[in-house]
């Protein structure tokens, strides 16, 4: 049975132009696109035998595309036209994919709502008053709306897997180093992962084969060989050893989400999988958010010190060079970004590092060890991706320190701390709004991960679900 991506090999010109047109048509409603890309040249030269031959795709706007404006949805990079391609762009194009747009994101990937984009919030196809999630919200919305079957995102705390849940699609964050980050505008280097969206697990398997592999330019990229992942995707759950992450399930207040999850789990058991429970140390789970916040903001502050208005991007006029930098950064960064940088810088001061940045890094180690122990002997750990459906756009972000927020809304960062592969697939709907199920597996065990997810997908039947917007 051909995957959806494979089916796009025929009628390429039609598919691509329809995708582009649809992207333009829904733009008014979703506001998911930052830059539309003219596919003409790509159509003349694409690899007709590639694994993604002729597939129209979208790239999150933190992916550097040579000759095409790349802004990371930030004012500071308005007008920045990269002089090089990110590694994954070369990989995708080598396998025949056609880029039709750069998608909106939370500014510099720092956010979980996609409300902080320079071009304004992205809307959820299932309910235009709601967020698509972030930071890869634009990519998620476009895949969910059926504009493209594949889009690139990035995942630092859950920025692919959470929007996937809110938008009812597959969101994959592979193992750290599985996909080269060269050319991806960074957020937090030790937590960043290139991730992506599809509408089926089998498509996700094909896509990983295209994206994965060693890139010498990224010294953290892995030498692990890249298998033909699709071969492993049978959907046979018999004999799989899984566990439910009790910490998350225990604090979710939304009964419908829990019911949905439990029903899926029951079916999984019926199919012959062993499903038990794991519980991680409560203090460690509650510490996940502050650990993430500190490490991410500290690394981000340093990473974005190059955004200074001198060699690219927004440049303000001023009397001295120093003033040019200050004026450009003042105008170019949103308030939330500035806040994050101030915190990040504070955490890196020599006098503070032990208590803050390094402390967080130590807690990270304990969290990862805890996860490693829990995963020992298992194929994967399951949990609802979120304790809620997509929030309304007008809802303010709560500075919530409640358990349900701390744990239920942040547990997927376990995959970033550890670097373990993790993915979200749709598990149902509550009030017509999608909810997702998340799995975390062993490093470089993506084939097995896709196999399990396929089994679940066959149970839910939620494959290739499109929410038409028009």
């Amino acid at each position: 049975m051909a995957t959806m991506l494979e089916m796009m090999k025929s009628n390429v010109e039609k598919n691509v132009s329809e995708a582009l047109k649809k992207a333009q048509d829904v733009q008014g409603k979703l506001n998911a696109v930052v830059t539309f890309v003219d596919p003409t040249e790509q159509l003349e030269n694409y690899n007709k035998n590639g694994l993604m031959a002729g597939v129209p795709i979208v790239l999150k706007d933190n992916v550097c595309t040579k000759g095409i404006e790349t802004t990371a949805s930030s004012g500071i990079l308005q007008g920045y036209v990269p002089i090089y391609n990110a590694h994954i762009v070369d990989r995708l194009q080598a396998e025949g994919a056609i880029v039709i747009a750069k998608s909106s994101m939370d500014e510099l990937a720092m956010g979980g709502t996609n409300k902080t984009a320079y071009t304004g919030p992205v809307h959820n196809p299932y309910d235009l008053d709601r967020i698509s999630g972030g930071s890869s919200g634009g990519s998620a919305a476009l895949v969910a709306a059926g504009v493209v079957p594949f889009a690139i995102g990035s995942d630092t705390g859950d920025s692919v897997r959470k929007p996937a849940s809110f938008c009812g699609i597959c969101g994959v964050k592979p193992t750290y180093g599985r996909i080269s980050r060269y050319g991806i505008i960074p957020y937090s280097s030790s937590l960043d992962h290139v991730g992506y969206f599809t509408r089926s697990v089998r498509d996700a398997a094909v896509a990983l084969e295209v994206l994965a592999g060693r890139d010498d330019r990224d010294m953290t990229s892995s030498f692990e060989p890249v298998p033909h992942y699709l071969d492993q995707v049978k959907g046979n759950l018999k004999g799989k050893k899984l566990a439910i992450l009790k910490n998350v399930v225990d604090v979710i207040e939304n009964k419908e989400i829990l019911d949905c999850f439990n029903k899926v789990v029951e079916e999984v058991k019926k199919q012959g999988a062993e499903v038990k429970e794991v519980e991680l140390n409560e203090d460690l789970m509650k510490a996940m958010l502050p650990t993430y916040y500190l490490i991410a903001n500290c690394e981000a502050t340093a990473n974005h010190s190059n955004l200074d208005g001198i060699r690219f991007g927004l440049q303000k006029e001023a009397k001295s060079c120093e003033d040019v930098m200050i004026a450009s950064r003042t105008e170019g960064f949103g308030s939330l970004i500035k806040k994050r940088f101030v915190i990040g810088s504070y955490g890196l001061f020599e006098e503070n590092q032990d208590k803050l940045f390094r402390k967080a890094q130590k807690v990270r180690r304990l969290i990862v060890e805890e996860l490693k122990n829990a995963l020992d002997g298992l194929d994967g750990i399951l949990a609802p991706a979120s304790g809620t459906v997509a929030p309304k756009i007008e809802d303010q972000n709560q500075d919530d320190l409640s358990d349900s927020y701390l744990v239920a809304e942040n547990h997927m960062v376990l995959g970033n701390f550890s670097g373990y592969p993790s993915a979200t697939i749709p598990m149902g709907e509550v009030g017509g709004l999608p909810i997702g199920l998340n799995i975390t597996c062993h490093p470089f065990d993506e084939g097995n991960m896709f196999d399990i997810l396929r089994g679940i997908e066959l149970i839910t039947g939620l494959e290739d679900k499109i929410k038409e917007v028009l």
Binding site: N62, V63, C64, T70, A72, L77, Y80, P82, I83, Y84, A86, R181, Y182, G183, I184, I185, P186, S188, S189, S190, D216, R217, D218, M219, T220, C298, E299, A302, H304, S305, N306, L307, D308, I310, R311, F312, C321, E322, M325, S345, L348, F349, E350, E351, Q353, F357
Partner: protein
């Protein structure tokens, strides 16, 4: 009041690699602006560093020459600050885990040996070059990302002379290793000096000042000498030395304040997340260490012991690696060591200077020079003729060929000489008379006449000997 001078020296040295420390763009000197860069050197968003193997190799070589312990786990850190010549807004360096630690350099000052300890050697990257004009600052990123090694001494140095000796010792070692051009005037070696003085017997260090942008070894010495006096005067007058950065003004030969050190800048050092620690292959390290060339000090000693050269001659020969290598190459074809040394230090060097050739463009084949020396020593030609032949050898010609072409072969055949001598004596009866009257000078004159007759080819020593012999015969 007697003072003790405390000096520490930091040296930055550009490595002679083909590409940058963290990118595969070419390193450059003097090339058109911004023609040796790629997106990484420009600090574009999304770029990542990739460590240069040869830079690591050169750093290992330098560590070995300076007797530093090598850390086989290579780690990098970020040094964060904002400046127009720092494209990423941070420099990738090795703050916490320098590749080399706890070494030393032995120097010689006034005939006495002293050991200067080296605290660390680490790898980092250079900044862009900028120059200021009235209408703005112009930035060239060619230099950005060039591999640097930073060598930090312990504050063991006590005066300008020692400092100069230390810097010179480092310079010549790094040059011998072939890891850097070490040209202070070009910036491939930079020297910053930290100077403080304290009353003899005081344990705590007093405030130190930093002197930057010293562009020659003699300036290092001059700057320190001035600064020490300046600080002495301040203390004598009951003042306090301010912690600041100063520069050396060549014209006035004084140090001038550049900027006050605003407290201590917090560089927020943390490990570079995009470079996993790199485990060096110990066999590779060992191979590198075993293959480093003989260091100048060792070579000089060897010349004195093995070749019996004077300290002065040995010193001159090891000044540059190429010169000593040339010397040794010449010695492969001749056993006349002292002669070779003299010719190289004398005629050869003079000719090189006159022609403006550098040793890398040496037009003299070692074998040819050796042959020339052998011919002189074997009396095939005279020393004077030798110099004439050398001029041609300098143009690349084979001395044997030159001698043959010019018919220069020195005549040491007694029979032929006697024939000419007889002729000359017959022609110069006055000289015979002069010699009989005790005027020894007559011999020289007669030798000159024979040289003329033989067109310069007569062996002068032999001629002299035979003339005296014949004169004696004639005057009975």
């Amino acid at each position: 009041m007697e003072y003790e001078v405390i000096i520490g020296i930091e040296i930055h040295c550009e490595l002679k690699t083909k590409t940058k420390m963290f990118s595969s763009a070419p390193t450059s000197f003097g090339k058109t602006a911004n023609s040796c860069v790629n997106e990484i050197d420009l600090g574009h968003p999304g770029t990542m560093p990739c460590v240069n193997k040869t830079a690591v190799e050169y750093a290992i070589m330098a560590c070995t020459a300076l007797h530093l312990d090598i850390d086989p786990l290579v780690k990098f850190d970020r040094k964060n600050y904002y400046y127009s010549d720092l494209p990423k807004g941070f420099q990738i360096t090795q703050q916490f885990h320098p590749i080399g630690r706890n070494g030393y350099v032995d120097i010689e000052v006034n005939g006495e040996e002293k050991r200067i300890r080296v605290n660390r050697l680490h790898m980092e990257e250079d900044t862009a070059k900028q120059f200021h004009t009235n209408s703005g600052t112009m930035i060239d990123y060619n230099r950005a990302g060039t591999p640097l090694i930073e060598i930090v001494s312990e504050p063991d140095i006590r005066n300008g002379k020692e400092a100069a000796a230390y810097v010179e010792a480092l310079r010549s070692m790094l040059y011998y290793l072939g890891v850097s051009d070490v040209k202070m005037e070009e910036g491939s070696m930079r020297c910053d000096v930290n100077v403080s003085i304290r009353p003899k017997g005081q344990v705590e260090f007093n405030t130190k000042t930093e002197i930057k942008n010293l562009n020659s070894i003699s300036n290092v010495q001059k700057a320190i000498d001035y600064e020490v006096e300046r600080q002495k005067e301040i203390y004598e007058n009951g003042g306090t030395v301010i912690q600041e950065t100063r520069r050396f003004d060549e014209e006035s030969k004084t140090t001038v304040s550049m900027r006050k050190k605003e407290g201590n800048v917090d560089y927020k050092f943390f490990p570079e997340p995009n470079i996993f620690p790199i485990q060096l292959d110990l066999n590779w390290v060992k191979k590198i260490q075993e293959s480093i060339p003989e260091m100048p000090k060792v070579r000089k000693q060897r010349y004195i012991e093995q070749y019996g050269l004077s300290e002065y001659d040995a010193n001159v020969l090891v000044q540059t690696k190429e010169l000593s290598e040339f010397f040794e190459e010449v010695l492969q074809h001749t056993s006349h060591i002292k002669m070779a040394a003299n010719w190289i230090i004398g005629d050869f060097t003079a000719a090189m200077v006159k022609s403006g050739c550098s040793l890398s463009e040496n037009p003299v084949k070692a074998e040819y020079l050796a042959t020339l020396l052998n011919m002189i020593q074997d009396k095939e030609i005279s020393g004077k003729q030798g110099k004439e032949v050398f001029e041609e050898v300098f143009k690349g010609k084979d001395p044997k060929q030159v001698v043959a072409d010019k018919g220069m072969k020195q005549n040491s055949d007694a029979g032929a000489l006697l024939e000419m001598i007889t002729q000359v004596l017959d022609e110069q009866p006055q000289s015979i008379q002069d010699y009989a009257n005790g005027k020894d000078r007559a011999v020289g004159f007669l030798v000159g006449q024979v040289m003329k007759k033989s067109k310069g080819q007569a062996n002068p020593a032999m001629t002299n000997q035979l003339i005296v012999q014949e004169l004696k015969k004639r005057i009975g």
